[in-house]
Symmetry: C2
Subunit: 344 residues, 2 copies
């Protein structure tokens, strides 16, 4: 079967602040055959990731900026249609980063083969993809909680936070989650086994949030894995335990907000008073250890100690709307679009 | 000789923001003889330290708050007048923390004996005291610059910053200092051998300061020893080199400023983009290693690789005025008052 066209979402204009659907344009383009060491893939799932916003304003950050008129880069899972590389044959499942397009031709070395096992495919972009890996390295390599330590996690019902909290719990920590709304908080307490949950929407000012954090962490938090930044991070600094570590895996409150309008961190004195350490990381820095971490994540899911939740919308069309909604906390679980069903 | 009265500066009221002279009260009190394991000391020098402000607003931080009506605590050097402890005899020189009083009775275990050597006495409260020790541990234990790395230091003409910069320079680093005013910048370049100096008064806005920092650190700063915080720290975060370390030894821009009026850190995204680590420390945590560090500092001073500068005013009376002036950058070098001359 020859496939001649593909639809793709491209960046219509740089996004200075928060994204809107009209910042993206759906195009239909022709598809070429794969060349040597290339494969042609049909997208099954594409991720919709808040961190991507950092690449959409035209500035260089930890990755080159997304060029205008090019398909939006995101984590993607697909099926090989045609292969110019001996390591891949049609029907193989692969994960990569070709993004929001139905059909893509990508270098074979830019994808990893996904072994069909008894875990759902979409999880390869979630708990077994960058979010799960971020949680794994953030807690086990950087946070390193001691048994009995209190671990605080923000965006705790999200893909990174929910995995991080459960991994910390398995390490023997007492886990406190921050999430938006009562449904997410109930999920943390009743389904994921968190020890406490704080609804940041019910504590919208810094004094209120600080009081809730202090009450939930009576001895202070030894580790804080933060995905949010801004007010949440600022309010948490004074409740960190002496020698506490803040691990920043994302700063979604700052993405798309010009520096002068961000909630700056005013509680820096806590760094001295409480001898805190704070560090930021990018999971790609651990790429050589992804297989080890993914194998461990799969064990945890099989053993039932690592639950996850996905927010999947149907069709590539949904991607920009879902993306915009992330910044209003509309999703509940790893946000993905299902672009096509697998052929078998 | 029996001394019956002593003058002392006490805290007249808690200081919510920046200090004024009227926040202090000079009192004359009776002096008692030392009891068992106590010594009576006559103060020769008392330090006037910006970090003390953190203890004067009535709140508990890394040390208990200064009580009202009690002598202001500060680093102090004195001579034993009378001793109730076998380890001390009159005439011994001791360093401690009894503070802004002419005569004090202190537990013998709360002081260290100062060996008379060929270094000036006042240096025991400066380059061989807490500021020098802070610089030593901040650079050698926490910053750990590699040869050729760029090390940024704020308050660079001050007691901590000037020592830190010179120690970093001796480690082979390229050293960039931030200081207030052309005289201090000239001192850094012409006397201390800094590679570049930035006058923050000539770059009063964040974009200006950021541009000056970027120009002075073309490859980014690998280590930043910060004594200031606020705008200076915020402007420096984006120019840190990948994997850079920020070591916070003081946050003088935040002391005495209510959180809502502080310059918050808005460039937290640099922690992710550049994989930064930031940590705060208190030099007392290294107390068991002070002798080792002090011996090394004395070697450096003797070898001429560690210069220092003192700002000494005459008389205990000067202490509150000098203290208030610290927050306007009026001093140039370690601020001390000379309370009395040694008896020999």
């Amino acid at each position: 079967m020859s496939i001649s066209t593909s639809r793709q979402w491209v960046l219509a204009r740089h996004i200075p602040e928060l994204p809107r659907e009209e910042d993206f344009r759906l195009e239909t383009v022709g598809v070429r055959d794969p060349g040597t060491e290339e494969i042609q893939v049909r997208t099954l799932y594409a991720s919709v990731d808040p961190g991507a916003l950092a690449r959409l304003n035209g500035a260089t950050t930890y990755a080159p900026p997304q060029p205008l008129g090019e398909p939006i880069v995101s984590a993607t899972l697909g099926e090989v249609i045609a292969s110019g590389d001996a390591r891949f044959t049609p029907g193989d499942l692969v994960a990569g980063g070709w993004g929001w397009q139905e059909i893509a031709v990508v270098p074979a070395k830019a994808v990893r083969k996904v072994t069909a096992d008894d875990t759902p495919l979409a999880a390869e972009l979630g708990v077994f993809g960058l979010p799960g890996l971020t949680a794994w390295f953030g807690i086990l390599e950087l946070g390193k909680p001691h048994p009995g330590a209190t671990v605080l996690v923000s965006s705790a019902a999200g893909a990174v936070g929910s995995a991080a909290g459960q991994i910390a719990k398995a390490e023997g920590a007492r886990v406190v989650g921050i999430a938006g709304g009562p449904a997410k908080c109930r999920y943390l307490l009743e389904e994921l086994g968190f020890d406490a949950a704080i609804d940041h929407r019910a504590h919208g000012t810094e004094p209120e949030l600080a009081a809730a954090l202090r009450s939930a962490c009576p001895g202070g938090a030894s580790v804080f894995l933060d995905n949010v930044g801004g007010l949440v991070l600022d309010a948490a600094l004074p409740i960190m335990a002496r020698g506490g570590r803040v691990v920043i895996s994302g700063l979604v409150a700052d993405y798309g907000v010009p520096p002068e309008r961000r909630h700056g961190l005013r509680n820096a004195t806590s760094f001295i008073i409480q001898r805190l350490r704070m560090e930021g990381f990018v999971v790609y820095d651990y790429a050589r250890r992804f297989d080890e971490a993914r194998a461990d994540l799969k064990q945890r899911v099989k053993a039932g100690t690592l639950l996850y939740r996905e927010h999947i919308e149907e069709g590539l069309e949904a991607a920009p709307r879902l993306f915009s909604g992330l910044f209003r906390g509309e999703n509940f679980g790893r946000a993905l679009v299902r672009v096509a069903p697998p052929s078998r």
